[in-house]
Amino acid sequence: MVDLSVDIGALRLANPVMPASGTFAHELAQVFDVDRLGALVIKTVTADKRIGNPTPRVAEVAGGMLNSIGIPCKGPQHFLDETVPLYRAFKAPLVASISANTPDEFARLCEMVSVPGVTAIEVNISCPNIEDDGRAFAMRPEPTLAVMRKLRAASDLPLWAKLTPNAGEIQEVAQAAEQGGADALVVANTILAMSIDITTRKPSLGKVMGGLSGPAVKPIILRMAYQCARSVAIPVIGCGGIMNAEDAIEYMLAGCSAVQVGTATFIHPSAMLSVIDGIEAWCAQNGVARVRDIIGDLAQAGDEGARNWGADMSAEKPKSGKPGEMNWEGVA
């Protein structure tokens, strides 16, 4: 028996696998027993009622998809009156996701949704901040720190800050979120992207630009999750392009305490179950008794011998990957 439980701060999850916000709702219970999930993260709720973006709202691209859904939302009262009671039917902990366009509105919403039945709050700070010319809060450390402080003061529930991969220095944003009182980080939201239909010469999305997700983003988001995990002491939840257990294990080795699965559910609705079962099988095969033991358990890079190409190269190979004075990581 493999112990699949993981800790996100004070919260213990039965396993490290949960849905990514916006790609899950109670309808998935028609397909499989969603109580098997580590947590149930639901679609972002906004402070105002929103109709969402014009269609087409999605497009296929190589290895993934674009979306510009635009967070249609019936508002926080509907969330409290309808959504929270609906999720009482499930055993897995409910994680609300919230977003707003100013720090004060965000904090009020955070306080409003801190009700029994909600176990933790994912704060989607990847949305536009009106007070910063519409830039997402998590684009830069200062607005991230400011909004996190207000959110922290507004709720006693665990707060998970969801970062945007569109930030230049995501480690600095991660540190600001931690300093502002986040209990965990979710890395990350979608990457701003677009595509064009050359027959019609129209952008594929009604809103022109949208968020890229799916397998295409995995190497990029994995790198960011790794950077964030090395920069903060709070747990990091990896989210980007996870299609199977191997992808999830990569994220955990990179330092993530748990993972979120989004786009994969659209292709195989029970993808999250396969991820859980696959992690368990991998642990059993590799003599891992507790999945949390693999969090950040990354071997040192650069040992060519480990590639096992047959030749004995282990003798005088210098070990690279040690922190040097200069950071040449990623330089071609």
């Binding site: 709702a25 219970a29 679609k43 709202r57 998809m65 979306n67 039917a89 659209f266 292709i267």
Partner: protein, 278 residues
């Protein structure tokens, strides 16, 4: 075999199955459409006319469809455990689908969505179908006939060779009227006069439309004029197919307001008078 789990009370809480169904038949029916029949016993038991399946089209070196593709149920054989699709080869996904051979398996999610409902009593119904609508409305013929509703189907296409399910409709005991662009009798003026005739003969107690915005508007006008029950089956691009992602919305009239509804789970069949078309 799947079991039913804790699902909050809701009208759409039927189980949805993801199965790899064996392809029993797969052939071209004309220059554009293909018929595919699969063995899917558990899904065939649950399927209703107007519902759809979300099909995972195979990827190869040339074609890489990422999303599933929604496809209406063309025929249901609950006892024989078979489902048929009638689909038009258009882009990446349907081209990939067309490559599947008999004996291969097709990953299907479903049945999904809300199917057709019938008017009260034994009111005779009129079906207005064009293009994809011919596939979507086909199983309604048998369903309505078996519930005692006389059926008249107006089947529209660009040319006579693209007309489909004419024989099947007649074999099911329904009346089939064909109109085509090539013959110059598919325009709304002519179809409107057909509807007027059917109304006068007492054969139009309800209206069903699918596959054309023009036919939708026409059906709405006639249903409003005569106060008839009606339904329309709509299409929109889908990602999840289950109601979670909110990409497949269309606009509907709800009193004085215009609202978005998801085609996948609040449809694809909607009240005729509420659809705003596209």
């Amino acid at each position: 075999m799947q079991t039913v789990h804790a699902v909050p009370p809701q009208p759409d809480s039927l189980p949805v199955l993801e199965e790899r169904a064996e392809i029993l038949r797969h052939e071209a029916v004309n220059g554009e459409y293909r018929l595919m029949q699969v063995a899917a016993p558990a899904q065939a038991k649950l399927a209703r006319a107007g519902q759809f399946f979300h099909l995972l089209c195979p990827q190869d070196d040339a074609l890489k469809p990422f999303f599933r593709r929604p496809m209406s149920i063309y025929a249901i054989d609950a006892e024989g455990g078979r489902i048929s699709f009638l689909y038009k080869v258009t882009g990446t996904g349907t081209k990939a689908l067309a490559k599947l051979a008999i004996g291969e398996r097709l990953d299907m999610l479903g049945p999904l969505g809300i199917g057709f409902s019938l008017p009260r009593g034994k009111a005779p119904i009129v079906i207005l179908a064009r293009g994809v609508g011919l596939a979507t409305l086909a199983p309604l013929v048998g369903l309505a006939q078996s519930e005692g509703h006389a059926v008249t189907a107006i089947l529209s296409a660009r040319s006579p060779d693209l007309l489909m399910s004419v024989e099947e409709t007649r074999a099911a005991g329904a009346d089939a009227i064909t109109v085509t662009d090539a013959q110059g009798n598919s325009d709304t003026g002519h179809v409107a006069s057909l509807l007027d005739d059917l109304h006068q003969q007492g054969r139009m107690g309800a209206l069903y439309a699918c596959g054309s915005n023009r036919l939708l508007k026409l059906a709405q006008e006639h249903a409003t004029r005569h106060g008839l029950f009606g339904e329309v089956a709509m299409e929109q691009q889908m990602a999840c197919g289950l109601g979670m992602c909110f990409c497949c919305v269309r606009a509907f009239r709800e009193g004085d307001a215009t609202v978005h509804r998801r085609v996948c789970c609040e449809g694809p069949v909607f009240p005729l008078e509420e659809a705003l078309g596209w």
